[in-house]
């Protein structure tokens, strides 16, 4: 800053003023872009890391689950109920009129076509996140001990404070006896 201009620059031409305005806006804009680009990594780092995502799918062998039995597997840190339903349970679930349901959903929509005996759902009560107990409650399904929600044999909410049916995770049959959740 050794050089100095004389005291005569007060009068700016309009062209100069425009250029200066453009400069300010462009510089501040670039600065804002820099901040934005820096902030994204700071936020994204809190998303699931690669090793967590790698565990986000689970394969389950169904061959050892007898009719009328179920297992609970862990998927993404949550319990997933895998149940081999009896004919009776399937029938009960299919016969419920949709009008009676708080969260209307047919039983067909909750299982895979041709694999009606297999019910796979996330075992987390839709009320406040407790784990419902199997084969309890008034509807031959699940019962949440925390606040008394009853789910039927399709995992649909029937009574109690929970607003929604137990959610169905994304899963596919790899073979007749093997599914991949996630």
């Amino acid at each position: 800053m050794a050089t100095s201009s004389s005291a005569g620059h007060d009068a700016h031409g309009s062209g100069q003023a425009t250029r200066r305005d453009f400069l300010y806006v462009a510089t501040v804009g670039l600065g804002a872009v820099a901040v934005g680009a820096t902030v994204w990594p700071l936020i994204d780092q809190m998303n699931p890391a690669a090793d967590v995502l790698a565990l986000s799918s689970t394969e389950v062998d169904l061959s050892k689950i007898a009719e009328g039995q179920g297992i609970t597997v862990q998927w993404r840190g949550k319990p997933v109920f895998v149940r081999h339903r009896t004919e009776k349970e399937i029938k009960e679930a299919e016969e419920v009129p949709l009008a009676e349901l708080r969260d209307p959903e047919t039983d067909d929509a909750r299982v895979k076509a041709g694999k009606k005996q297999w019910l796979v759902m996330v075992g987390v009560c839709t009320h406040l996140g407790c784990i419902p107990l199997g084969q309890q409650g008034d509807y031959d399904g699940w019962f949440c001990p925390c606040h008394g929600s009853h789910y039927d044999s399709s995992g649909r909410i029937r009574r109690g404070p929970a607003p929604l049916n137990l959610p169905i995770p994304e899963y596919q049959f790899l073979s007749d006896t093997k599914i991949k959740i996630g």
Binding site: M1, S4, S6, A7, T27, P41, Q45, M46, A49
Partner: protein
């Protein structure tokens, strides 16, 4: 244009706040209307850069802590987890590790600028001392941070540096055990270092606040080393120095980005990519580059306690600078002999850094000793002597006159 307009507002909301907590006028006084000498050169950019680095280190550090595990069995693996699996984890870690180096680069230049332009002289002694306190806290923080990845250099660096306290007479051994929380550097040590590494930056923030408070009380020094005599000597901080600092920051960020993106491990040590092993010492232990000059002084003294005292003294001596230099002229610009002594001192510092990186054998022992003696001689002999006999050049009457020439309206 008056450079120090008092804060004024027509906004009812701001007036309401101001009547209860004058925070907006305080910020305005510090960053907007603060009257800064009109002749500050680019060496004055490094204060704001240091502030930027402190914030950058805290932000990246807090993020790393979200993924790091301070336990001897998991620390190293958690750092690898950050590097391999966490989204942008590599960026966070490299920015933090290289950021420590950048922080020291900036602060060393900031300190040297103060030494060159006599910024430590009355009435800025407290400002200077607070700066040294920040520097000491930075050293402690940097050292403990380097231990956290739990690599070989982390472990053995921690071992060597904590062992320095063993040099203290009588209580040395007890103090080292106390520092370790055991009989060697181990999990207890790692955990307390982690705790303190997280704490100290916020202590630094507090001292930075005092540093700025002192600065705004005495006002900035300047390359001419003469005090502000009136409004004609100053310009408002905004937009003049905000724009200049933004430009300086952009240039500095390119320097920073070069290390982070293209040479992220050059300032570190390969041995720190080997997990800590208490049974094997690396062949050649070196501290991070920013400690090397002090490490050279430590090794120059052939006595454990003496070395530790010399190393501590090398920093403590900075506190006495306002009294060791009693020349009436502040800036080296008008002190031809002090100017030369200053550059010799810088060269001596670089030489000490080089010696610190070399194995302590052969010629390096002698070079290290001579350079260490010179370091202290600079402060204890050369600076006072120059103050005594040097004949300074004539100093301009005012900043405005020197900068704007006689055309300046007084």
């Amino acid at each position: 244009m008056s450079s120090s307009t008092p804060f004024q507002t027509n906004s009812k909301v701001i007036k309401w706040i101001e009547a209860r907590l004058p925070i907006i006028s305080t910020i305005d006084g510090a960053l907007v209307s603060y009257p800064a000498p009109r002749n500050l050169n680019y060496w004055w950019n490094f204060g704001s850069l240091a502030g930027f680095m402190l914030v950058a280190q805290i932000v990246t550090g807090i993020i790393l802590v979200m993924h790091y595990t301070p336990h001897v069995t998991m620390a190293f693996a958690s750092v690898e987890h950050i590097m391999r699996d966490v989204n942008y984890g590599w960026l966070m870690r490299y920015a933090h590790a290289n950021g420590a180096s950048m922080f020291f680069v900036v602060v060393y230049i900031h300190i040297l600028r103060g030494l060159y332009y006599g910024s430590y002289k009355a009435p800025r002694e407290l400002l200077w001392w607070l700066g040294i306190v920040i520097f000491l806290l930075m050293m402690a923080t940097g050292f403990m941070g380097y231990v956290l990845p739990w690599g070989q250099m982390s472990f053995w660096g921690a071992t060597v540096i904590t062992n320095l306290f063993g040099a203290l007479p009588l209580v040395g051994g007890d103090i080292v055990t106390w520092l370790w929380g055991g009989f060697s550097v181990d999990n207890a040590t790692l955990n307390r270092f982690f705790s303190l590494h997280y704490l100290l930056p916020f202590v630094i923030c507090a001292v930075v606040f005092l540093h700025l408070w002192a600065l705004h009380t005495t006002k900035s020094s300047n390359p001419l080393g003469i005090e502000i005599k009136g409004d004609q000597d100053t310009v408002p901080f905004h937009p003049y120095y905000t724009a200049k600092d933004a430009f300086g920051l952009s240039v500095f960020l390119m320097f920073f980005a070069y290390w982070v993106f293209f040479n992220p491990n050059a300032l570190g040590h390969p041995d720190n990519y080997i997990e800590a092993n208490p049974m094997v010492t690396p062949a050649h232990i070196v501290p991070e580059w920013y400690f090397l000059p002090f490490y050279a002084i430590l090794r120059a003294v052939p006595d454990k306690l003496g070395g530790v005292l010399a190393m501590g003294g090398a920093i403590v001596i900075l506190f006495f600078m306002p009294y060791l230099d009693f020349s009436k002229v502040r800036s080296a610009k008008f002190r031809p002999i002090y100017k030369q002594a200053f550059w010799l001192f810088v060269l001596d510092g670089i030489l000490l850094g080089y010696v610190g990186a070399m194995p302590a054998e052969g010629i390096w022992i002698l070079v290290g000793r001579i350079a260490s003696v010179y370091y202290f001689a600079h402060f204890l002999v050369i600076v006072p002597l120059i103050s005594w006999f040097e004949k300074p050049l004539p100093v301009p009457e005012s900043i405005a006159k020197a900068v704007l020439g006689d055309a300046a309206k007084a």
